[in-house]
């Protein structure tokens, strides 16, 4: 049996090395991309731990509240008659030596002293030598005795490194301070960000009961919950994003599927004679099917294994790309090292094998049905497919209808499953249209277009199964490229329009350093006050943001100056009445929320929501919904007077400055800069904010572009390989042309024409289906995943240039096959039996 396999299947594969390589490579690439994306996504999200989780000591319960916990809560807790350990933490970020941002932790060095000393860390209670301010860092940030500059919020402080933290217990670099210094440097004024509670070993299983026990007697606004909860929430939050990424990463494999189908089909066709012989001597149809499925299995396994290795390498680079997106949109994450996850490997390999087998199913089954006699006949055109083309057009129509119906479905489990399946249906529809398109145009090519075009068109139509599969493969890649390009372009346009409309302040100030979704460093209040005094400044809107959890998902709760916003900013609501919203917010009974928040949590104007604020849990009426593209998480906006009631001492995260139109901008800017001089504050003028937004935007789509490029590459490579196979299979015809007076140049031109026709057909199908796909992407997948309304814009220039590039690449892919064609020796091929 295995000898049969080797002779019938493996040896021809080896003989046809080039094509085998190409097919293997396409599967390998497909699997590599899926694997790389999975690994990278896991690593970039820090295994779903935010930077705050980097220092984990086996704590079980966390206690937190918006705006911080009062210190005396810790005193009360420690006096409770429970065998629990309490670790207070101040958690923030610091920019180290003006370069990187790392997490900064304030811990009780005293309480930890015994453990740290036992573990070999020389963490001693604060030195009695006055004036010495020290920190502990991981080895990557410096050595003991060196000095280190930390910028927290808008001020910089110099410290000495007292010791090095064992990096095996933490992931990534971080800075550790004693609570006293951390409090001063972060301006917490006695507040604690989190209290972590550790249960004794024997009680670890009873986490929920202990959390409940601790919750008794705590004010309402304080959250007590098991520590794993945040990890789960991060996982949920990133779920939609990672799913989209996952789906995208499967495109390359999908394209590869077409190529497998082609390869196996070609195998079957070429070996018709052998199959007939084997059948004639007693081989069963099932043996044939098994044989070709085995060939597909070989491609799937060998290509898949190659892909795993390649994917592991690619993952390193992919981590950076994905990490940019995760940080910009979600959570400051320290990338964990890329780990070879067996489950991800199994899924990727399994996908590769499954897709290969599925793709080979149809041609393999056909091989099983070849009766022995038919194999002897040669030179017959595959007329069956011509009739089938009509049937397939009907399938295409049905799939089109199906995809429309699917896009109407609501999300399932927070994911736009209907949208994903609709995408597949559209791709299917385009694929089923390909044969009709190729046959229609190909058969109608006449000598009027030149003899090369005539021959090219007819040959494509004559090898309809193979050519239409190629067209479908390339069209799929083009459709993806087109649809994503349109979606991204639309998104960009929508966002820019929104910026122009909504962002009306003249200057924006925030603490210097890289922005991330879950970091809200602050500016000192005195800076705001000083700027208010500058003549020419109409108003300073202090914006204060907190990351909170709402229904298990992260949300940004923000307080701003509603009056200034409405008067100078002219914010308009997408839903709800402006005047009513302002009144309600100033009165402290209403809030406005952003569109993604409304979508995700099913909140409409008029609903009430309850929000943890300091120690309390007040409820507010939702008076309006506004468009916002700066965060997928969603915003809840209160007026600052309300926020101050619950969180009195807090400083702003950023300032929006409205200036008098008549004021001299440059002078005003200089005065503002002077007012905060030594502080680390970044100033954005209105127009540069636009550029900043665009920069972040492009950064977040970097990984998408990369995935598209891979899919296109796979498709074009497939075209080259398949065309080569076509040439080889038509060598007798090509030889004949030479006998009939065809010149070498004419043969070359004919092959290039074929490549060009494939390219054109693919572009046509791809652009059309891509346009339809973009509708699904924009109005279904995006809306259900993230909650944004995106206006449809066609990025004409970008699209045209991309399409032209792909067309060029396709024609270039025909260069090598064309050369092969001219190199054929007509005599040899004509006299082959």
């Amino acid at each position: 049996m295995s000898a049969l396999f080797a002779r019938l299947i493996l040896r021809p594969l080896w003989a046809d090395r080039g094509r085998t390589m190409v097919t293997l490579a396409s599967i390998a690439l497909g699997v590599a991309v899926i694997f790389a994306m999975d690994l990278a996504g896991e690593a970039a999200a820090g295994s779903f731990r935010s930077s705050m989780e980097t220092v984990s000591g086996g704590e079980d319960i966390e206690i937190l509240s918006t705006g911080g916990l009062p210190a005396d809560l810790l005193g009360r807790l420690s006096g409770l008659p429970y065998p629990l350990r309490y670790s207070p933490r101040i958690e923030d970020f610091a920019i180290v030596n003006e370069k990187r941002t790392v997490p900064l932790f304030g811990v009780d060095v005293f309480a930890n002293a015994l453990e740290l000393a036992e573990a070999g860390n020389r963490a001693e209670p604060k030195l009695t030598e006055a004036g010495q301010r020290g920190v502990f860092t991981t080895a990557g940030l410096g050595r003991r005795g060196e000095s280190i500059r930390l910028q927290v919020n808008d001020e910089a402080h110099d410290f000495t490194i007292l010791g090095t933290i064992d990096s095996r217990q933490v992931s990534g670099d971080l800075v550790l301070l004693d609570l006293e210094d951390a409090d001063l440097v972060t301006g917490r004024q006695g507040k604690i960000d989190r209290i972590l509670v550790t249960l004794p070993e024997t009680e670890k299983a009873a986490v929920d009961q202990w959390a409940e026990r601790l919750r008794q007697g705590m004010p309402e606004g304080i959250t007590v919950r098991p520590v794993g909860a945040r990890k789960e929430e991060n996982r949920k939050m990133l779920a939609a994003f990672r799913w989209n990424l996952r789906v995208l990463s499967y495109i390359a494999l999908l394209v590869g599927a077409f190529l497998i189908y082609n390869t196996i089909s070609v195998s079957v066709v070429r070996r018709r004679a052998e199959i007939g012989i084997v059948r004639a001597v007693g081989g069963t149809g099932r043996l044939m099917v098994a044989g070709f499925l085995a060939e597909a299995l070989f491609f799937g396994l060998a290509g898949g294994l190659l892909g795993l290795a390649l994917g592991r390498i690619l993952a390193e680079g992919a981590v950076k790309l994905v990490g940019l997106t995760v940080t910009a949109l979600y959570v400051s994450s320290t990338a964990a090292p890329v780990e070879f996850a067996w489950s991800a490997a199994a899924v990727s390999l399994g996908s590769g094998v499954l897709v290969s087998l599925l793709a080979a199913l149809a041609p393999a089954l056909e091989a099983g049905r070849i009766p022995p006699t038919e194999a002897m006949a040669r030179g017959r055109v595959d007329t069956q497919l011509q009739a089938a083309a009509g049937r397939q057009l009907a399938y295409a129509g049905a799939l089109l209808g199906l995809s429309w119906a699917l896009s109407l479905l609501p999300p399932w489990g927070g994911k736009p499953m209907g949208g994903y399946v609709a995408t597949l249906a559209l791709v299917g529809a385009a694929s089923f249209t390909a044969p009709s398109l190729v046959a229609f145009v190909g058969r109608r090519m006449t000598g009027w277009a030149g003899v090369e075009a005539l021959l090219a068109g007819r040959s494509l139509a004559g090898a309809l199964r193979r050519s239409s599969v190629l067209v479908a493969a390339l069209a799929t890649a083009i459709a993806m490229m087109t649809s994503v390009g349109i979606m991204v372009g639309s998104f960009r346009e929508t966002m820019l329009t929104w910026i122009d409309r909504q962002i009306r302040a003249d200057f924006y100030l925030r603490p210097a350093g890289e922005a991330a979704m879950d970091r809200h460093p602050t500016i000192s209040e005195d800076v705001a006050r000083r700027i208010e005094q500058i003549p020419g400044v109409l108003a300073v809107d202090r914006f204060r943001a907190y990351s909170i959890r709402y229904n298990g998902l992260p949300v940004i709760l923000a307080a701003g100056d509603v009056q200034a916003q409405m008067r100078y900013g002219r914010t308009s609501l997408q839903k709800g009445d402006n005047a009513d919203a302002v009144r309600g917010m100033l009165a402290g009974e209403a809030v406005i929320v952003s569109e993604p928040f409304g979508e995700k949590h099913g909140v409409k104007v008029g609903d009430r929501i309850t929000v943890p604020l300091g120690q309390a849990r007040p409820s507010f009426r939702v008076a309006g919904i506004f468009l916002d593209y700066s965060s997928e998480n969603g915003y809840i906006i209160l007026d600052q007077s309300v926020a101050r009631r619950y969180l009195p001492a807090d400083e702003p995260s950023n300032l929006a400055i409205y200036a008098d139109e008549k004021a001299d901008r440059a002078a005003l800017r200089a005065r503002i800069e002077a007012s905060y001089a030594p502080r680390r504050i970044a100033l954005f003028e209105n127009r540069s904010l636009r550029n900043e937004a665009v920069r972040i935007f492009d950064q977040t789509f970097a990984v998408t572009y990369a995935l598209e490029a891979v899919a296109i590459f796979v498709a074009v490579m497939g075209v080259a390989g398949a065309m080569l196979a076509l040439i080889i299979d038509r060598r007798r015809e090509i030889g004949l042309l030479r006998f009939l007076g065809g010149a070498a140049g004419q043969v070359r031109r004919m092959v290039l024409f074929e490549a060009g026709l494939i390219g054109l057909f693919s572009q046509l199908l791809g652009v059309l289906s891509g346009a339809l796909l973009s509708l699904v992407l924009i109005f279904v997948i995006n809306k259900q995943s993230f909650g944004w309304t995106i206006e449809f814009h066609l990025p004409v220039l970008a699209l045209l240039s991309a399409l032209a590039f792909v067309l060029l690449a396709t024609i270039l892919a025909g260069l090598y096959p064309a050369r092969m064609a001219t190199r054929l020796n007509p005599i040899e091929v004509m006299h082959e039996e």
Partner: protein, 231 residues
């Protein structure tokens, strides 16, 4: 039995002391050994011999598809050894027509498209090419078959289309490699008669390779070959 050059014109094909050797699997093969042959327009020669005696090789050389190792091949007076690829292609386009044992029609083209193909390759415009193709089809008595596809034809019809194609550009030399090998006797005789007529009507020299001695009854001369030599 040798037949004389009837017209006494200048030979359209002159093969002078031609040898063809090549290396196959490390062995030196002598396909032709000092072969000489002359054909005048209108003459119909048969090349007879067993498989492997060198008939096909001789035909390839006669059709300017290959070069001799020694000796010269002249077609319409031109030494093929002196021409480059473009020159050979041009020579073929003007002077030579090929007919094959298994017809070799392009399955994706209609009958008319098959026939006009050599003209299109030569650069003729579609309209006049089509006109001449139809003429050629009429000559082989297949008018009305323009839009049929090859797979709709019988073996004999396919070979007639092939002949129409081979004659569409009025070549001076027609080379036929086992033209009736895949046909039954009756159809085969029809084809042979057609070839005879082609030699007469178009003053073409027809050189036919065959291993069947019966087909020699229509020819002017039978050239026997064995082991690369003419007997």
């Amino acid at each position: 039995m040798e037949k004389r050059n009837l017209t006494g014109c200048v030979a359209i094909l002159r093969i002078e002391d031609v040898s063809k050797e090549y290396v196959a699997q490390g062995q030196r093969v002598v396909a032709l050994d000092a072969v000489s042959l002359e054909m005048a327009p209108g003459e119909f020669f048969a090349l007879v011999g067993r498989s492997g005696c060198g008939k096909s090789t001789l035909l390839n050389l006669a059709g300017a598809m290959d070069f001799p190792t020694r000796g010269t091949v002249r077609i319409a007076g031109q030494d093929t050894g002196r021409l480059d690829d473009a020159g050979l292609t041009g020579l073929r386009r003007q002077q030579v027509g090929f007919i094959f044992q298994n017809f070799q029609l392009l399955p994706t083209l209609t009958v008319a498209e098959n026939v006009e193909l050599p003209l299109l390759l030569a650069g003729l415009r579609p309209a006049p090419a089509r006109a001449r193709a139809i003429e050629s089809l009429a000559w082989v008595e297949l008018d009305g078959y323009e839009n049929r596809m090859p797979h709709q034809l019988s073996g004999g019809q396919m070979q007639r289309v092939a002949i129409a194609r081979a004659l569409v550009h009025r070549p001076r030399l027609l080379l036929a490699d086992e033209p009736i090998g895949n046909l039954d006797t009756a159809t085969g005789n029809l084809i042979l008669d057609l070839l005879r007529r082609a030699a007469r009507d178009f003053s073409a020299a027809v050189l036919m390779a065959t291993h069947s001695p019966d087909s020699t009854r229509v020819t002017d001369r039978v050239v026997e070959m064995r082991d690369g030599r003419i007997q």
